[in-house]
């Protein structure tokens, strides 16, 4: 490898709490960039708002700290504005599944060619610990003193159901595997969703819990088999890690747009005048 992960780190020191799961995500993503020998100036990372969304500041790449819940539309605009960039969308579970939840099906539907990494800590970290859409039912926090009542979302099952062409789960306690998943997600020609179990040590420390229940996907898991992926996703007592599903055959959106442009009738002075002559 001729590039080092540290070459993708900016001089800004992360302000995350010591032990926050997001450090591992930063390390893994920069390792994935290095393994693909991406040029810094060809990368752009778009985030929403939250502790996890501070991410772009810590990278020596292009980056934008966007609007709460909107990293996907933002990244879509970036990718279509400059398809030659490697665009990565990142954010938290509150950002992505709560306020921004409505954008995921459409990114999947379009198969927009970018990875979306959600640092899922099952809590709102930045606003000091309110329950999030992936908090376990019954979680008692400041905004849920009697226990949260909603059932947690299943992000893997959800994105599979949306038709996402690459769906994976990683864990901050297993950074090596995470870096490899990110590498694969970056190579995937289409929308790649990666849920990272990334504990918030301050408001919802789940390291021990996840260490206990995380396992690699069952041996022989076929990532081309959507049903097998869904079956594995339905398992919640065990949290499987790895690439649940992958379909590299679908055209990514920027490619579809190009084909559409190629097919659209080209305007000349004559064809424009013709419209008025009719």
């Amino acid at each position: 490898m001729s590039r080092k992960a540290s070459e993708y780190r900016s001089h800004v020191k992360p302000i995350w709490c010591p032990g926050c799961g997001d450090y591992a995500v930063l390390n893994a993503l920069t390792r994935a960039f290095a393994s693909l020998e991406l040029r810094n100036e060809n990368i752009m990372v778009a985030s929403g708002i939250g502790c996890s969304s501070r991410f772009p500041a810590f990278l020596k790449t292009y980056g934008i700290h966007g609007v709460h819940g909107r990293p996907l539309p933002l990244a879509t605009g970036i990718k279509l504005g400059n398809p030659s960039l490697t665009v990565v969308a990142v954010g938290g579970d509150g950002d992505g599944f709560s306020i921004g939840g409505g954008h995921i099906p459409h990114a999947a539907r379009r198969n927009i060619d970018l990875p979306y990494i959600v640092m899922d800590n099952n809590i709102y970290g930045m606003t000091k610990g309110q329950p999030s859409p992936t908090s376990p039912r019954g979680l008692q926090r400041k905004a849920s003193p009697y226990g949260s009542q909603e059932r947690p979302l299943n992000p893997i099952l959800m994105t599979l159901a949306y038709g996402t062409t690459f769906v994976a789960r990683a864990f901050s306690g297993q950074p090596k595997q995470m870096a490899d998943i990110f590498r694969q997600a970056l190579l995937h020609p289409g929308f790649a969703f990666v849920q990272v179990l990334s504990p918030c040590i301050t408001f919802h420390n789940t390291y021990d819990h996840y260490r206990e229940i995380c396992r690699p996907l069952p041996e022989g898991h076929n990532a081309q088999d959507l049903q097998a992926a869904m079956t594995a996703a339905l398992e919640t007592e065990t949290q499987y890690l790895g690439i649940f599903y992958r379909d590299d055959q679908q055209l990514p959106y920027s490619r579809r747009l190009q084909l559409l442009r190629d097919r659209a009738p080209k305007l000349t002075l004559e064809t424009v005048l013709d419209r008025f002559r009719r």
């Binding site: 609007v67 709460h68 859409p133 400041k142 905004a143 849920s144 003193p145």
Partner: protein, 353 residues
């Protein structure tokens, strides 16, 4: 009731509870989340409705729905969340259901910061979103006034079936002060006749902002405008400090209004005859009184934690009767007493020329 040491966000939330708040929907955002957290506990122990929504768009539409059923309902937020709510607020205004919204303004534009600011003035005062409408906008300057304005907000919202905003700022939400909460009021036993409570023995009600024809929509708008005219007539509120003999006037609201009381005292010590007008309603704006005072004083100094948003309303009210100067601080910075004092002296010299 005795005075207690209360944090602004907890104070307005508890004041709402005691004024008969029946349902609260909100989404966490600094510097206002303590209100949501307080209500998550209080509303449930009192057998009322609390829900943490998935976004401010969801929260305001839940508020809209609950308001249609005739319950006392409220939400609270800060800048970015308020921007998202404007869509729902326009519908709420157009369909005439009473709703109270607290906005603890923070520095903008965009994500800005979580420091206190007053830069949402134009968004709150000059419109409720798309279409022609104004919310009643109350501007408390301290925690006691914040508490008192919660009760007023509900009363006005229900009296006029309209949207009422409480325009606070991050410092008002975050600071602690000694203040007195109202006694617990009993919940209303009946819901208003216009609400969705079943149409037994009467014509069904329609709650809508949809009027397909141009003439019917114009008629509806004229009806709404008539209501706004009534509000303008009856609900203008402000406080004056030492205006009787003033020949210089400061105009400021909320936290800056409070800072200006210190400026005024200091200025008077130094021999300047300064008065203060502090609007308590930003809409309707105390324009008539300001116009009168503009005829009395030699000059006016406006201060805001913004680039000068209320300034436009002041200038319109003054209508050229006297010079109007402005001093604002941006991005979450307070104007300080000595800064404002210097501005007053400058104004004094300019108008003495």
């Amino acid at each position: 009731m005795a005075k207690e040491l209360l944090k602004g966000n907890v104070a307005f939330a508890e004041a709402a509870v005691r004024n008969g708040l029946q349902a609260y929907f909100g989404y966490p955002i600094t510097p206002q989340s303590e209100a949501l957290e307080h209500l998550s506990k209080r509303m449930l122990e009192l057998d009322r409705v609390f829900l943490q929504a998935e976004s401010e768009v969801a929260a305001i539409n839940m508020v809209y729905g609950a308001a249609c059923t005739g319950v006392r309902v409220m939400t609270s937020t800060s800048g970015p969340g308020f921007s998202l709510m404007t869509e729902g607020l326009s519908y709420i205004a157009g369909s005439e259901v009473p709703v109270v919204v607290v906005n603890m303004m923070r520095g903008g534009p965009g994500l800005g910061n979580i420091q206190p600011a007053q830069a949402d003035y134009a968004l709150m005062v000059h419109t409720v979103g798309h279409g022609d409408f104004h919310a009643i906008v109350l501007a408390p300057a301290n925690i006691q006034e914040l508490i008192d304005m919660v009760g007023l907000a509900f009363d006005l919202a229900e009296k006029y079936r309209t949207v009422v905003y409480i325009a606070g700022d991050g410092s008002l939400g975050q600071m602690m002060e000694s203040a007195e909460l109202p006694p617990m009021k009993p919940l209303p036993t009946e819901r208003p006749a216009w609400a969705t409570i079943g149409a037994k023995d009467r014509e069904p009600n329609a709650i809508t902002s949809l009027f397909l024809g141009a003439e019917p929509l114009e008629a509806w708008n004229l009806h709404l405008q008539k209501k706004l005219a009534q509000i303008k007539e009856n609900e203008v509120r402000w406080q004056e400090y030492q205006t009787e003999d003033a020949d210089l006037l400061m105009v400021a609201y909320g936290t800056v209004g409070r800072i200006c009381t210190s400026v005024m005292r200091e200025a008077r010590k130094q021999g300047l005859r300064v008065g203060l007008l502090r609007p308590q309603t930003l809409w309707p704006f105390p324009a008539a009184r300001l116009n009168e005072l503009a005829g009395q004083v030699r000059g006016i100094l406006v201060s805001e934690m913004s680039a000068g948003q209320m300034l436009a309303d002041v200038e319109r009210a003054v209508a050229g009767k006297c010079p109007v100067a402005f001093h604002g601080r941006l991005g979450g910075v307070f104007p300080m007493v000595d800064e404002l004092l210097a501005e007053l002296k400058k104004l004094d010299q300019e108008v003495s020329k």
